[in-house]
Symmetry: C2
Subunit: 315 residues, 2 copies
């Protein structure tokens, strides 16, 4: 497989175009708005020019990578010879249903149709297709050219081979795929984030500490290990004999905490205002764009550093 199609040229689709082109794939780029396609091409060039090779950019010449991108003139044109379609259209059910009907009609049955959706299960917009068995969710963490994780989520009718092929492709383009065994609200990533955010808001609402202190607890504490080990490996290494011993020792303590946390709460207006006010003290509204650039620079530099450290450890 050397040709892929990127359908939908928003922020997510643009980053996907970079991911595939950086990895050597020919990428047909399509959006209903031709101007969006041009924005994607410009985004890829600008990113490659500004990012270090191991921090989202490429070791290859920028022109060489950009030459792999082609502005498709229609959906059908984008699908020409493509073996994989990464769709990143707006998150509206009717849009996806119509789009997948067109994709299903235009793409030969072996072509994988992968959706970037973060919220819609594939079953909700592929049930009506002739070849729905080649559809799945391949959900990135934005932006995928900096953050490798992707969640592969099958519909009930997705063929196992389609998951295998999508996972293999993700590995080849340098992403880190995980596989869910079935559809579930929020997939894995947003469920984990939900659990952490739920407790974060609870602590602030109950007056235990400030939002800024919750942020510190993660950025100066828990997050340092979670940057390169997940929660299971973290606790596995925290007991002499491994995770089973950890669970024997601390399971009752965590069960006690879990019972205290089994209290789902809406984020009420007053609470949200408290957090918003705290955040605006630290980053005023007019500084948000600059802070996002700061975040992206940090992310790129730290991803590059992580690659170097992990590479040195392996060699």
């Amino acid at each position: 497989m050397t040709k892929v199609a990127v359908v939908g040229c928003g922020v997510v689709g643009s980053s996907w175009a970079l991911v595939f082109a950086r990895a050597g794939y020919e990428v047909a780029v399509y959006d209903a708005l031709p101007a969006s396609v041009q924005q994607t091409l410009a985004f890829v060039r600008t990113s490659l020019e500004s990012l270090p090779p191991d921090g989202g950019g490429s070791a290859e010449d920028v022109d060489v990578v950009c030459a792999r991108l082609r502005a498709a003139t229609s959906l059908e044109d984008a699908l020409t010879d493509a073996a994989y379609v990464q769709e990143s259209a707006p998150e509206r059910l009717e849009i996806k249903r119509d789009l997948y009907q067109r994709l299903d009609a235009a793409a030969p049955p072996h072509v994988i149709l992968a959706s970037s959706t973060s919220g819609l299960p594939a079953s909700s917009f592929t049930d009506h297709l002739v070849h729905r068995e080649r559809c799945l969710v391949v959900h990135p963490i934005n932006p995928p050219h900096l953050i490798p994780l992707v969640e592969l989520v099958p519909a009930p009718w997705t063929q196992a081979g389609v998951l295998d092929e999508a996972a293999a492709l993700m590995e080849r383009v340098g992403q880190s795929p995980i596989r869910l065994n079935r559809e579930i609200n929020g997939f894995v990533v947003n469920r984990l984030q939900s659990a952490l955010l739920g407790e974060a808001f609870r602590l602030v609402e109950d007056g235990l500490c400030s939002a800024a202190d919750v942020d510190k607890a993660v950025a100066d504490g828990l997050g340092l290990r979670w940057f390169f080990m997940g929660p299971f490996e973290t606790i596995d290494l925290n007991a002499q004999e491994g995770v089973a011993q950890y669970c024997r020792n601390l399971g009752p303590m965590y069960y006690g905490l879990a019972k205290e946390q089994a209290d789902p709460r809406e984020w009420h207006a007053a609470l949200v205002e408290t957090v918003e006010a705290e955040r605006r003290m630290l980053t005023p509204a007019n500084s948000l764009p600059a802070r996002r650039l700061w975040r992206d620079r940090c992310l790129s530099a730290l991803v590059a550093a992580k690659r170097r450290v992990m590479h040195e450890e392996q060699t």
Copy 2:
């Protein structure tokens, strides 16, 4: 304040000795077992010799830093001229209660008595003291010489000025203090970890994905931002207008997930065995010590990289 006492020379106390000596403080080190004191002194030297200055070591000469450490011959000797005591004794209530009685009797009333305890509220082992108002929890994430976060948790009788002073000291020695307004089970860090672990175990128990895939979801996804931004800043920058807009858009989705997650579960033996088996496939039991060294090398190198990136961003 230039003199501190480190009481209790296990893994945590040893790391504390390094933190204070590295920052220029004279440190009296005491443990009921003199051999433990010697182990602490050796640990500090070995660590300084092996760690980069910005990754847990020191830019100063190793001998100069080590000369700030003194093996105290008794608890009373350790307290001589100390203005701050960091206690890291075993996590048993009777031990702490007896120890604090001795500390309270031997240390002048202005001396701060800070406990490294991760599980016992200060009120449980200081209620009987004459000068209990100078006691609090200063809970590190192990090891504090690599992980800056510390949680300051007052007992109901802890003076506000004691919290201020402890926070200022922590800042001066390069740690990152957060302040809880009152005692709560698990403090902030373990409550956040509990929320994430609860969902991690739930996903595995329900057959959604493997433990390894949960780890990837964090280490290759969520953890990349949490390494340098907390959960609140992460979502604040993820909506054009900031966190209030994020909550308006996604609050209902997260409330839906929170209701699905409001299901506190014990970590039953079968589940723990599943996770243990998965972990032992990746890291066999006899490789655990080597993997811990790997973890510590990664942690040190990544902390150093983070310091450099953050420093460059500030200048």
